[in-house]
Symmetry: C2
Subunit: 300 residues, 2 copies
């Protein structure tokens, strides 16, 4: 299971029961949180996300609609007795803000908060099961996108075939890594005959807040699912550019250029009550587009 | 009209659709906000409070459930184009937090935010129509309560009587201040014959977060409406004391000692889903008690 659950799909001021940006990414037993606008902890409760399972939080940039809910979430986790360490990846200044807020409240978190200041593009987390890269987007202040990738899974043993070719079980682990098998007589049995390929690794790119920037398409090339902001409909492209945001057709154009399998659009301006035109406009350029809807989980 | 509208009646972590502390005080055309937990700006929208009319905000202390929603409210007011100056009364460290958060977002508010650091008990605001005093409560960190008082209104002219006694209208303003009238012949007409007393000035005391402390009763003596926290029911008085909070019967005892006309209780622990026992326990000690309910306005 690799999926993205939307907790907030709105920009800036909450409106029409839409909330500021927050997304929960589930990758098998891992749970990640990307951005954390005000009220995210209430959305986590509302959509029954198990907050104790969130071990990695990524904050794209320090505009309030992307992080004002973080300090509340962190302190609530403490009040609820969290003990597991928590990794936080964000622009460096966020650490000063959090430390100041804990200090004035005379609060010490009962768990270790490990702060990873993002300063440059590249790999920021790398484990056996997933990796996370960050990349710069173009916004009014420093802003980072994130790509979460499954690690390539080893090949699976074809149980019928290993019996048929009488391969000793001691060689199974070697087969999973792709090696061929050589019999005592010197006959080589090709790995493809003995194993089954796993599904190719999936990837999710969160392109944060950004003005239309073709270089992002290169950075997120071939991802399985691309989230790209669409604060405005296409007629407001001048306003979008002036405010370092994007429109529907711009988001869709990035998905086309990136060769993404699927596009998810969000960060809608509070000026729009009805969102259908966002989907219609984006789909004219990139058919496999979905509208980020709060409480819904999208498969990567 | 002098009333208190509850936007949040819960302590610490939001639960059962109850929110952290925030109260809107309406005194004729004035609107005040006391405390501003996370999500207060959404509650303001939900209960149709006109945020543009809020010109004075009071923050009791720097535990998150009393101020994490403030920065979001302040920046939203900016996004919505506020231009009127806004007065903020709070412990000094809040100014550093706000300034840091505005700075990292490269945001300049389009209105003047006038910060009044609270350092000692006494009068913190004084206008023709109201005054606000602060007083120290006893909590884990520095914490302030607030008393908002109407100013004593001038006496009203009794229109029938001034005609009957043939008082020239030029003297009406003098009569309102309580002066007697002397005719050319030297006859003194007592003010009480010519004017009607206005209703006595009302007052609202917000006693913030506090452990049971009898000195608070002295500080809020004779107020029309006292808000006192009751985080726990009476059986948990030891836990209340350990956490610098109060119980139902302690809040009610303060109301009795203070000779308050009415008591409003709130700041309920998230451990309680049903709140009826709070009212029952408090009313055994002080009959004229109301349970702070979100969205409800209580007359002072």
């Amino acid at each position: 299971m690799f999926g993205v659950t939307i907790l907030g799909n709105n920009s800036a001021i909450a409106a029409f029961d839409r909330h500021p940006t927050a997304q929960v990414i589930t990758l098998n037993e891992q749970v990640f949180l990307i951005d954390c606008g005000e009220g995210t902890q209430h959305q986590i409760t509302r959509y029954k996300i198990r907050r104790s399972r969130i071990n990695h939080i990524f904050i794209s940039h320090l505009h309030g609609d992307h992080y004002f809910g973080l300090i509340g979430l962190l302190t609530s986790m403490g009040l609820l007795g969290r003990q597991n360490e928590l990794h936080l990846y964000a622009p460096a200044a966020l650490q000063d803000i959090i430390n100041l807020q804990l200090e004035v409240a005379d609060t010490v978190l009962p768990y270790q908060l490990i702060f990873h200041a993002i300063t440059t593009e590249g790999l920021i987390a790398d484990t056996k099961k997933f990796s996370v890269e960050c990349f710069a987007t173009r916004h009014r202040i420093q802003c980072w996108g994130f790509i979460i990738r499954e690690k390539k899974q080893p090949r699976k043993i074809d149980k019928e075939k290993v019996l048929q070719y009488e391969i000793p079980s001691a060689y199974y682990e070697m087969l999973k890594t792709g090696s061929d098998y050589e019999t005592k007589e010197g006959t080589v049995i090709k790995n493809e005959l003995l194993t089954i390929a796993n599904t190719p690794p999936l990837s999710y790119a969160f392109a944060a807040d950004t003005v239309y920037d073709e270089s992002i398409a290169e950075k997120v090339k071939n991802v399985s699912l691309l989230y790209h902001e669409t604060t405005y409909l296409k007629d407001l492209h001048e306003r979008a550019a002036a405010r370092f945001h994007s429109t529907t057709v711009q988001a869709a154009a990035i998905a086309v250029k990136a060769n993404a399998k699927k596009l998810l659009i969000g960060h809608f301006s509070s000026k729009y009550e009805i969102l259908d035109p966002f989907l219609e406009e984006a789909q004219e350029v990139f058919a496999n587009t979905a509208l980020a809807t709060e409480g819904v989980t999208y498969k990567v």
